[in-house]
Amino acid sequence: MARVQRQAEVEEIAEGVPVMKNEKEKIDLLFEKNANEQLAGIDWGKFNGAISSRLDEADLSKTSRSKLPTVFKIASGVAAAAAVVFVAMMLRTENPAKMPLENSGHAVVEFIEARGSASVEIIDRNGEGKENGSQAAWIIIRMPEPVLVADPFLQEADNGANGYLRDLIHLF
Protein backbone atom coordinates (compact mmCIF):
# COMPACT_ATOMS: atom_id res chain seq x y z
CA MET A 1 0.00 0.00 0.00
CA ALA A 2 2.79 2.36 1.02
CA ARG A 3 4.71 1.37 -2.09
CA VAL A 4 1.71 2.21 -4.29
CA GLN A 5 1.26 5.53 -2.53
CA ARG A 6 4.95 6.35 -2.94
CA GLN A 7 4.84 5.43 -6.62
CA ALA A 8 1.80 7.68 -7.07
CA GLU A 9 3.65 10.55 -5.41
CA VAL A 10 6.65 10.05 -7.64
CA GLU A 11 4.52 10.03 -10.77
CA GLU A 12 2.61 13.06 -9.67
CA ILE A 13 5.81 14.99 -9.00
CA ALA A 14 7.58 13.75 -12.10
CA GLU A 15 4.70 14.69 -14.36
CA GLY A 16 3.27 17.58 -12.47
CA VAL A 17 6.06 19.89 -11.40
CA PRO A 18 3.60 22.85 -11.22
CA VAL A 19 1.89 21.14 -8.25
CA MET A 20 4.93 22.18 -6.20
CA LYS A 21 5.22 25.56 -7.81
CA ASN A 22 4.68 27.67 -4.70
CA GLU A 23 7.14 25.71 -2.57
CA LYS A 24 9.60 25.60 -5.40
CA GLU A 25 9.53 29.31 -5.81
CA LYS A 26 10.08 29.99 -2.14
CA ILE A 27 12.87 27.48 -1.68
CA ASP A 28 14.51 28.30 -4.97
CA LEU A 29 14.38 32.01 -4.29
CA LEU A 30 16.12 31.39 -1.00
CA PHE A 31 18.80 29.28 -2.63
CA GLU A 32 19.15 31.71 -5.50
CA LYS A 33 19.51 34.59 -3.08
CA ASN A 34 22.29 32.85 -1.20
CA ALA A 35 24.02 31.67 -4.38
CA ASN A 36 23.88 35.16 -5.87
CA GLU A 37 25.32 36.67 -2.72
CA GLN A 38 28.07 34.09 -2.57
CA LEU A 39 28.98 34.42 -6.23
CA ALA A 40 28.70 38.21 -6.35
CA GLY A 41 32.16 38.84 -4.95
CA ILE A 42 33.98 36.44 -7.23
CA ASP A 43 36.50 37.83 -9.69
CA TRP A 44 35.98 35.36 -12.52
CA GLY A 45 39.21 36.33 -14.21
CA LYS A 46 41.20 35.48 -11.08
CA PHE A 47 39.17 32.34 -10.54
CA ASN A 48 39.94 31.28 -14.10
CA GLY A 49 43.62 32.00 -13.47
CA ALA A 50 43.54 29.87 -10.31
CA ILE A 51 42.08 26.94 -12.23
CA SER A 52 44.62 27.47 -14.98
CA SER A 53 47.53 27.30 -12.53
CA ARG A 54 46.06 24.13 -11.01
CA LEU A 55 45.92 22.66 -14.50
CA ASP A 56 49.56 23.69 -15.04
CA GLU A 57 50.49 21.77 -11.89
CA ALA A 58 48.51 18.79 -13.15
CA ASP A 59 50.37 19.04 -16.48
CA LEU A 60 53.71 19.08 -14.68
CA SER A 61 52.88 16.05 -12.55
CA LYS A 62 51.61 14.25 -15.67
CA THR A 63 54.88 15.03 -17.46
CA SER A 64 57.02 13.95 -14.52
CA ARG A 65 54.99 10.73 -14.30
CA SER A 66 55.63 10.01 -17.98
CA LYS A 67 59.35 10.72 -17.51
CA LEU A 68 59.60 8.49 -14.48
CA PRO A 69 60.32 5.21 -16.34
CA THR A 70 63.26 6.80 -18.22
CA VAL A 71 64.66 8.30 -15.02
CA PHE A 72 64.16 4.97 -13.31
CA LYS A 73 66.03 3.14 -16.09
CA ILE A 74 68.93 5.58 -15.90
CA ALA A 75 69.05 5.30 -12.11
CA SER A 76 69.03 1.49 -12.35
CA GLY A 77 71.88 1.60 -14.86
CA VAL A 78 73.94 3.88 -12.64
CA ALA A 79 73.26 1.70 -9.61
CA ALA A 80 74.25 -1.46 -11.49
CA ALA A 81 77.47 0.16 -12.74
CA ALA A 82 78.27 1.32 -9.21
CA ALA A 83 77.66 -2.20 -7.91
CA VAL A 84 80.03 -3.69 -10.51
CA VAL A 85 82.73 -1.15 -9.61
CA PHE A 86 82.22 -1.85 -5.92
CA VAL A 87 82.50 -5.62 -6.38
CA ALA A 88 85.60 -5.18 -8.57
CA MET A 89 87.24 -3.02 -5.91
CA MET A 90 86.40 -5.52 -3.21
CA LEU A 91 87.90 -8.34 -5.22
CA ARG A 92 90.96 -6.25 -5.91
CA THR A 93 91.56 -5.57 -2.22
CA GLU A 94 91.34 -9.28 -1.46
CA ASN A 95 93.98 -10.13 -4.02
CA PRO A 96 97.45 -10.70 -2.68
CA ALA A 97 99.54 -7.58 -3.00
CA LYS A 98 102.89 -9.14 -2.50
CA MET A 99 103.24 -12.69 -3.62
CA PRO A 100 106.54 -14.03 -4.85
CA LEU A 101 105.38 -16.35 -7.61
CA GLU A 102 108.45 -18.19 -8.64
CA ASN A 103 107.72 -21.56 -10.01
CA SER A 104 106.27 -23.80 -7.36
CA GLY A 105 106.78 -23.80 -3.60
CA HIS A 106 105.44 -22.09 -0.50
CA ALA A 107 104.96 -18.45 0.26
CA VAL A 108 103.34 -16.43 3.01
CA VAL A 109 101.36 -13.55 1.67
CA GLU A 110 99.79 -10.50 3.23
CA PHE A 111 96.59 -8.89 2.06
CA ILE A 112 96.44 -5.18 1.37
CA GLU A 113 93.76 -4.76 3.99
CA ALA A 114 95.93 -6.72 6.45
CA ARG A 115 93.00 -8.90 7.39
CA GLY A 116 95.16 -11.87 8.06
CA SER A 117 97.72 -14.13 6.55
CA ALA A 118 97.57 -17.28 4.57
CA SER A 119 99.95 -19.90 3.35
CA VAL A 120 100.05 -20.42 -0.36
CA GLU A 121 101.27 -23.52 -2.13
CA ILE A 122 101.86 -23.39 -5.86
CA ILE A 123 101.80 -26.62 -7.77
CA ASP A 124 103.28 -26.18 -11.20
CA ARG A 125 104.05 -28.93 -13.60
CA ASN A 126 106.82 -26.84 -15.23
CA GLY A 127 104.99 -26.66 -18.46
CA GLU A 128 104.52 -30.39 -18.57
CA GLY A 129 101.44 -31.21 -20.56
CA LYS A 130 100.50 -27.53 -21.07
CA GLU A 131 101.08 -27.70 -24.78
CA ASN A 132 97.98 -29.81 -25.34
CA GLY A 133 96.03 -28.03 -22.61
CA SER A 134 95.43 -31.20 -20.62
CA GLN A 135 97.50 -30.22 -17.57
CA ALA A 136 96.71 -27.38 -15.18
CA ALA A 137 98.61 -25.43 -12.57
CA TRP A 138 97.10 -24.97 -9.09
CA ILE A 139 97.47 -22.70 -6.13
CA ILE A 140 96.39 -23.94 -2.71
CA ILE A 141 95.67 -21.21 -0.22
CA ARG A 142 95.30 -22.01 3.43
CA MET A 143 93.93 -19.35 5.68
CA PRO A 144 92.36 -19.36 9.13
CA GLU A 145 88.60 -19.65 9.10
CA PRO A 146 86.90 -16.64 10.61
CA VAL A 147 85.17 -17.21 13.93
CA LEU A 148 81.49 -16.42 13.48
CA VAL A 149 80.13 -17.72 16.77
CA ALA A 150 81.87 -17.37 20.10
CA ASP A 151 81.53 -21.06 20.84
CA PRO A 152 84.61 -22.53 22.57
CA PHE A 153 83.95 -25.99 21.11
CA LEU A 154 83.72 -24.63 17.59
CA GLN A 155 86.88 -22.61 18.07
CA GLU A 156 88.74 -25.64 19.32
CA ALA A 157 87.52 -27.88 16.58
CA ASP A 158 87.73 -25.65 13.52
CA ASN A 159 90.02 -22.78 14.29
CA GLY A 160 93.06 -24.43 15.73
CA ALA A 161 96.36 -25.08 14.09
CA ASN A 162 94.81 -27.68 11.81
CA GLY A 163 91.64 -25.79 11.21
CA TYR A 164 92.50 -24.14 7.91
CA LEU A 165 90.03 -23.33 5.31
CA ARG A 166 91.34 -24.64 2.06
CA ASP A 167 90.65 -22.87 -1.12
CA LEU A 168 91.72 -24.08 -4.46
CA ILE A 169 92.10 -21.67 -7.30
CA HIS A 170 92.13 -23.13 -10.69
CA LEU A 171 94.65 -21.09 -12.64
CA PHE A 172 94.43 -22.10 -16.24
Binding site: A35, Q38, N48
Partner: protein, 187 residues
Protein backbone atom coordinates in the same frame (compact mmCIF):
# COMPACT_ATOMS: atom_id res chain seq x y z
CA UNK B 1 21.26 32.62 -20.96
CA UNK B 2 24.62 31.48 -19.58
CA UNK B 3 27.85 31.23 -21.56
CA UNK B 4 27.94 27.46 -21.60
CA UNK B 5 24.47 27.31 -23.12
CA UNK B 6 25.34 29.89 -25.75
CA UNK B 7 27.99 27.58 -27.14
CA UNK B 8 26.17 24.87 -29.03
CA UNK B 9 26.82 21.21 -28.47
CA UNK B 10 28.90 20.79 -31.64
CA UNK B 11 31.24 23.60 -30.48
CA UNK B 12 31.53 21.90 -27.12
CA UNK B 13 32.15 18.59 -28.85
CA UNK B 14 34.97 20.10 -30.89
CA UNK B 15 36.55 21.67 -27.81
CA UNK B 16 36.38 18.38 -25.95
CA UNK B 17 37.87 16.47 -28.88
CA UNK B 18 40.68 19.02 -29.12
CA UNK B 19 41.28 18.68 -25.37
CA UNK B 20 41.40 14.92 -25.75
CA UNK B 21 44.01 15.43 -28.46
CA UNK B 22 46.12 17.40 -25.96
CA UNK B 23 45.07 20.98 -26.80
CA UNK B 24 45.32 22.75 -23.45
CA UNK B 25 43.86 25.95 -24.89
CA UNK B 26 40.68 24.09 -25.78
CA UNK B 27 40.29 22.88 -22.21
CA UNK B 28 40.90 26.39 -20.92
CA UNK B 29 38.02 27.51 -23.09
CA UNK B 30 35.81 24.80 -21.60
CA UNK B 31 36.78 26.05 -18.14
CA UNK B 32 35.85 29.59 -19.12
CA UNK B 33 32.49 28.45 -20.46
CA UNK B 34 31.53 26.24 -17.52
CA UNK B 35 33.15 27.78 -14.45
CA UNK B 36 30.12 29.86 -13.44
CA UNK B 37 27.71 27.00 -13.86
CA UNK B 38 29.95 24.64 -11.95
CA UNK B 39 30.32 27.19 -9.16
CA UNK B 40 26.58 27.73 -8.94
CA UNK B 41 25.95 23.99 -8.64
CA UNK B 42 28.63 23.67 -5.96
CA UNK B 43 27.42 26.71 -4.02
CA UNK B 44 23.90 25.31 -3.99
CA UNK B 45 25.21 22.21 -2.24
CA UNK B 46 27.90 23.75 -0.04
CA UNK B 47 26.32 27.13 0.60
CA UNK B 48 29.72 28.83 0.71
CA UNK B 49 31.69 30.32 -2.17
CA UNK B 50 35.14 29.56 -0.76
CA UNK B 51 34.41 25.88 -0.25
CA UNK B 52 32.72 25.77 -3.64
CA UNK B 53 35.73 27.39 -5.33
CA UNK B 54 38.08 24.74 -3.94
CA UNK B 55 35.71 21.98 -4.96
CA UNK B 56 35.24 23.34 -8.48
CA UNK B 57 38.98 23.77 -9.01
CA UNK B 58 39.54 20.16 -7.97
CA UNK B 59 36.70 19.05 -10.22
CA UNK B 60 38.19 20.81 -13.24
CA UNK B 61 41.58 19.23 -12.59
CA UNK B 62 39.92 15.83 -12.32
CA UNK B 63 38.03 16.46 -15.54
CA UNK B 64 41.23 17.56 -17.28
CA UNK B 65 43.13 14.47 -16.20
CA UNK B 66 40.28 12.16 -17.22
CA UNK B 67 39.06 13.89 -20.37
CA UNK B 68 40.18 10.88 -22.43
CA UNK B 69 37.55 8.76 -20.68
CA UNK B 70 34.67 10.91 -21.90
CA UNK B 71 33.11 8.82 -24.67
CA UNK B 72 30.56 11.38 -25.87
CA UNK B 73 32.24 14.80 -26.18
CA UNK B 74 28.89 16.56 -26.60
CA UNK B 75 27.84 15.38 -23.14
CA UNK B 76 30.65 17.29 -21.46
CA UNK B 77 28.30 19.39 -19.33
CA UNK B 78 26.53 16.37 -17.87
CA UNK B 79 29.87 14.70 -17.20
CA UNK B 80 31.40 17.80 -15.60
CA UNK B 81 28.38 18.52 -13.40
CA UNK B 82 28.45 14.92 -12.21
CA UNK B 83 32.09 15.39 -11.16
CA UNK B 84 31.32 18.74 -9.53
CA UNK B 85 28.29 17.55 -7.56
CA UNK B 86 30.05 14.38 -6.41
CA UNK B 87 33.03 16.44 -5.26
CA UNK B 88 30.73 18.94 -3.52
CA UNK B 89 28.88 16.17 -1.70
CA UNK B 90 32.18 14.65 -0.56
CA UNK B 91 33.37 18.06 0.58
CA UNK B 92 30.12 18.65 2.43
CA UNK B 93 30.34 15.30 4.25
CA UNK B 94 33.95 15.85 5.28
CA UNK B 95 33.09 19.38 6.44
CA UNK B 96 30.27 17.94 8.51
CA UNK B 97 32.60 15.36 10.07
CA UNK B 98 35.10 18.10 10.89
CA UNK B 99 32.35 20.22 12.41
CA UNK B 100 31.12 17.30 14.51
CA UNK B 101 34.62 16.69 15.85
CA UNK B 102 35.01 20.35 16.73
CA UNK B 103 31.59 20.31 18.37
CA UNK B 104 32.59 17.41 20.59
CA UNK B 105 35.86 19.06 21.57
CA UNK B 106 34.41 22.51 22.20
CA UNK B 107 30.97 21.61 23.55
CA UNK B 108 31.55 23.64 26.70
CA UNK B 109 32.10 26.78 24.64
CA UNK B 110 28.87 26.53 22.63
CA UNK B 111 27.08 29.44 24.29
CA UNK B 112 30.04 31.70 23.82
CA UNK B 113 30.33 30.66 20.16
CA UNK B 114 26.66 31.35 19.50
CA UNK B 115 26.98 34.82 20.98
CA UNK B 116 29.83 35.53 18.56
CA UNK B 117 27.99 34.42 15.42
CA UNK B 118 27.95 37.04 12.70
CA UNK B 119 24.50 38.62 12.71
CA UNK B 120 24.67 39.71 9.09
CA UNK B 121 21.63 38.39 7.26
CA UNK B 122 23.63 36.96 4.38
CA UNK B 123 25.94 35.07 6.69
CA UNK B 124 23.02 33.80 8.70
CA UNK B 125 21.21 32.58 5.62
CA UNK B 126 24.38 30.93 4.37
CA UNK B 127 24.83 29.10 7.65
CA UNK B 128 21.19 28.06 7.75
CA UNK B 129 21.33 26.71 4.19
CA UNK B 130 24.58 24.87 4.89
CA UNK B 131 23.10 23.26 7.99
CA UNK B 132 19.89 22.37 6.19
CA UNK B 133 21.65 20.88 3.16
CA UNK B 134 23.69 18.67 5.46
CA UNK B 135 20.46 17.14 6.72
CA UNK B 136 19.56 15.92 3.24
CA UNK B 137 20.61 12.63 1.75
CA UNK B 138 23.26 12.73 -0.98
CA UNK B 139 20.69 12.24 -3.71
CA UNK B 140 18.34 14.83 -2.31
CA UNK B 141 21.15 17.37 -2.06
CA UNK B 142 22.25 16.67 -5.63
CA UNK B 143 18.71 16.82 -6.97
CA UNK B 144 17.95 20.10 -5.19
CA UNK B 145 21.21 21.60 -6.37
CA UNK B 146 20.89 20.59 -10.01
CA UNK B 147 17.14 21.00 -10.36
CA UNK B 148 17.43 24.66 -9.56
CA UNK B 149 20.16 25.32 -12.11
CA UNK B 150 19.13 27.49 -15.00
CA UNK B 151 18.24 25.67 -18.21
CA UNK B 152 18.84 22.21 -16.82
CA UNK B 153 15.90 19.91 -17.49
CA UNK B 154 14.70 17.18 -15.19
CA UNK B 155 15.88 14.54 -17.66
CA UNK B 156 19.34 16.14 -17.77
CA UNK B 157 19.43 16.13 -13.97
CA UNK B 158 18.45 12.47 -14.12
CA UNK B 159 21.31 11.79 -16.53
CA UNK B 160 23.79 13.54 -14.26
CA UNK B 161 22.55 11.65 -11.22
CA UNK B 162 22.35 8.35 -13.06
CA UNK B 163 18.72 7.68 -12.22
CA UNK B 164 15.25 8.11 -13.77
CA UNK B 165 13.50 11.45 -14.17
CA UNK B 166 10.78 10.20 -11.84
CA UNK B 167 13.38 9.43 -9.18
CA UNK B 168 14.75 12.96 -9.56
CA UNK B 169 11.23 14.28 -8.93
CA UNK B 170 11.00 12.13 -5.85
CA UNK B 171 14.34 13.32 -4.45
CA UNK B 172 13.43 16.94 -5.17
CA UNK B 173 10.11 16.49 -3.45
CA UNK B 174 11.59 14.88 -0.35
CA UNK B 175 14.44 17.38 -0.25
CA UNK B 176 12.08 20.30 -0.43
CA UNK B 177 9.93 18.91 2.32
CA UNK B 178 12.93 18.74 4.61
CA UNK B 179 14.23 22.15 3.57
CA UNK B 180 10.82 23.72 4.07
CA UNK B 181 10.75 22.42 7.61
CA UNK B 182 14.38 23.34 8.36
CA UNK B 183 14.28 26.78 6.77
CA UNK B 184 10.72 27.76 7.64
CA UNK B 185 11.80 30.96 9.37
CA UNK B 186 13.41 32.19 6.16
CA UNK B 187 10.50 31.35 3.84
Amino acid sequence: MNESREANSSDIGRLVEASQAGDRGAFDELVRLYQRRAMRAAVRILGDANEAAETVQNAFVKAYLNIDKLKEPRRFEVWLLRIVTNAAISQQRSARRRAERIKVINCHEDKKAVSLVDKAVGEELKGAIQAAMQKLSKKEAKAISLFGLEDLSQSEVAEIMGCSAAAVGWHVFKGRQKLKRLLKEYL
